[in-house]
Subunit: 326 residues, 2 copies
């Protein structure tokens, strides 16, 4: 009997897998470095290996798998299971869903990684019970997921939810995507990092200089947190401004989408939530209509790194599969 | 037998009604000035009168009404039929749905006016056949409506779609809503009007000065169009900038919502569409991901003033009623 579901969270840095039993409990795990610079086939074999190891540790074989769900950086096509192209992963029109279906002999659902994380929080985490949810994950980049009327929303583009790439400061700093003033260019770790580096180049004094080697291009979230908590004025100002920008985006989203719960996650949030949330909420309220904010909760994700695994697994049992075994 | 549906479009300036037969054809119409400064009961009696006149002209009585749909400025509660408060209409917690249900003896659906307009274009106009639609109406203010997976999206706030109040230039000009840099503060007729007035105060030469009495605070869309088409440099620059801001917002929406069709409507668009659309599209593409723009159409509304009437009538037959007759 097919009793278990495999959830995989594929990232540019690491790939994690978890086997969920019929109660939604993780009964086996595995993870490995993605080493995304390698050939597609090598990366795929790491993904498959991580999945098999998780099954082994759960004490089941793939015949017991009801379905497999995988969250991956996009853009991707959830209908065909293909990754369209993913800079981080060097996947270009890669049949990730079909390959996994063959490998594990079960139906596969392919979803955007942030969508999977949002869905995990919606079904089993901080956004349980709500019907209209916005997930916002602030890390190296900024990603989002939209739950509308209790369902993951894909849109016609099949890749809706890119809240990192809404413009909130027209004419603002250049974003990796080529546009100017995207939220990601103002409030991601990359943006915070850049601003700190710029301040240092301008001769501003900050303890980040001591905490970090001069060569390091990017400033890790933990270093930002340390500097913030020591009251470093440069970092405090930069983090506060990032939080204000996040709040402006959330306020816009309250007006546009009217969510009940906004779940915040990702490396920057995990490190700085208590320090940032006050500023984020205040800034949200400068933009959001009062009536639209009534009853709205802005909360931290509960599942941490498991959100993607659990969300992918839940989607695997609830959505039409992207790919079927031959 | 109940065979007809009454659609009403309630605005701050005028109220229009149309009777739709079972083929969706308008078989009777009426309209009147809202004169919104009057007491609630007086305004309500104008709305009722316009509805009755449309029925008369269609040659039917209210016993033949299957349902009534009304689009109104919000915020409002589509579940109870109450207008929460509407600055334009002086309606404050007003039971518009229940009152109309009693008046016409049929179920009533109350919807946001822009939602009704978007729904009309979705069901019978420029966005027919699409499942994921964004309606953007640029007039005195800027409103929006979201169709997601073939359904009007309300969100938890019950008033989603306020695209006029997403911030696209943080720290930008003050909006009527209190925030800074909202799309409405950058690209509505009010914003364009303000910018033209400001240019005149600064001594810039523009033919608007000739076209308009000095006292007139706001510049009508027709005057803006005339000046633009005569190549007036001040107006050309201001309208172009407004179009660029609209494009930035649309590009953000393509990334966030991934719509198939974006329908543009409202006074500014009706007057300036051919002049603005090139700039709007170009600006949209500076922000939208290429993969997300694939197959996306940005089109002008087809139903004009009828969109609201038709959309309200369609919603009346398709949604759960806000209010039932006693």
């Amino acid at each position: 009997m097919r009793t278990h579901v495999l959830g995989i969270d594929l990232g540019g840095t690491k790939v994690s897998a978890g086997v969920l039993d019929h109660n939604g409990q993780i009964v086996g795990r595995a993870r490995a470095k993605t080493r995304a610079w390698r050939e597609n086939d090598e990366v795929f074999s790491t993904i498959a290996q991580v999945g098999h190891t998780a099954l082994e540790r759960a004490g089941i074989d793939s015949q017991s798998l009801d379905a497999l769900g995988i969250g991956s950086p996009g853009p991707l096509d959830p209908d065909t299971g293909y990754i369209i192209d993913s800079a981080n992963l060097r996947f270009d029109n890669f049949p990730l869903g079909p390959r996994l279906a063959t490998e594990f002999g079960c139906p596969v659902v392919l979803a955007n990684d942030v969508d999977a994380g949002t869905y995990g929080e919606f079904r089993a985490g901080a956004a349980r019970g709500a019907s209209d949810v916005l997930g916002v994950f602030v890390g190296t980049g900024i990603g989002g997921g939209i739950i509308a009327n209790g369902k993951l929303y894909h849109g016609f583009s099949k890749n809706a939810g890119e809240i990192g790439h809404i413009v909130i400061r027209a004419g603002g700093p250049k974003c990796n995507c080529g546009a100017r003033g995207c939220l990601e260019a103002l409030a991601s770790r990359t943006a915070i990092s850049k601003d700190i580096r710029k301040a240092i180049r301008r001769g501003r004094r900050t303890i980040v200089t001591k905490l970090l080697s001069k060569k390091a291009e990017s400033v890790p979230s933990t270093t930002i947190k340390k500097a913030f908590q020591k009251g470093d004025p440069v970092v405090t100002k930069i983090v506060t401004r990032a939080a204000e920008h996040i709040g402006i985006a959330l306020g816009s989203m309250v007006n546009l989408l009217g969510p009940e719960i906004i779940v915040l996650g990702g490396g920057v949030i995990e490190a700085l939530y208590p320090d940032m949330i006050g500023v984020i909420e205040k800034s949200t309220r400068t933009v959001a209509f009062e009536f639209a904010m009534k009853g709205v909760q802005i909360v931290k994700c509960e599942l941490g790194d498991d959100a993607g695994i659990i969300g992918a697994a839940m989607l695997a049992t609830e959505l039409k599969p992207s790919s079927q075994p031959a």
